[in-house]
């Protein structure tokens, strides 16, 4: 069955540094991969979508890579800020259906 793995441990980084979050998947060949941000007590908020034929996608301080050979996506936040502290979920998908990972909690320390 499909398996989506994200770092279960929280990631603590210093303000201003680049945060890198990893998403690995197995038994799956997604057509695209999404990243969402979730704050406590709230629903996830869509950040970026990258398609299988794209290697990299950028949006402001965010950068996502997608390696279909390694079955991995990396999510980078450059010049991180305390306001970036949240849980980040990856969601590989096909058609209009995605499978969510369990998320990685990011804490940016001032």
């Amino acid at each position: 069955s499909q398996k989506i793995e994200q770092n279960s441990e929280a990631l603590n980084i210093q303000e201003g540094k680049t945060a890198t979050l990893t998403c690995n998947y197995t038994n799956y060949s997604p057509a695209y991969l999404q990243w969402y941000r979730q704050d406590p007590g709230r629903g996830p908020v869509f950040l970026l979508l990258i398609r299988e034929n794209e290697k990299e996608k950028r949006k402001e301080r965010l950068k996502v890579t997608f390696d279909t050979t390694l079955k991995q996506s990396l999510f980078h936040i450059t010049a991180s800020q305390p306001a970036d502290s949240a849980t980040y979920l990856c969601a590989p998908g096909g058609g209009q259906k995605v499978t969510f990972g369990t998320g990685t909690k990011l804490q940016v320390i001032p």
Binding site: G43, P44, K97, F100
Partner: protein
Amino acid sequence: GAGVSQSPSNKVTEKGKDVELRCDPISGHTALYWYRQSLGQGLEFLIYFQGNSAPDKSGLPSDRFSAERTGGSVSTLTIQRTQQEDSAVYLCASSQSKRSHSYEQYFGPGTRLTVT
């Protein structure tokens, strides 16, 4: 415009009772999803509606769970004979037509269900 809304925001019920959770998607969004999130866990897919097509019910954990979407808009998730393991946050999301290739999902704030 208005986002996805869900009601109630919190629901406490006794074991064995039935509950109904409501979702109002964004106007014009043809796809609607229900997910369940237990404390510290990821989102578990429950059911997906797309336009007038038959819903994808592959994620429903048991026959105690059912959902309907009336008029292609509002959706209701019903849990019959609730059990303590049903306690979780139930999230609803909507998405635009697949023809636009826009797959991003817009989530509601969720309904926190507690079964005592």
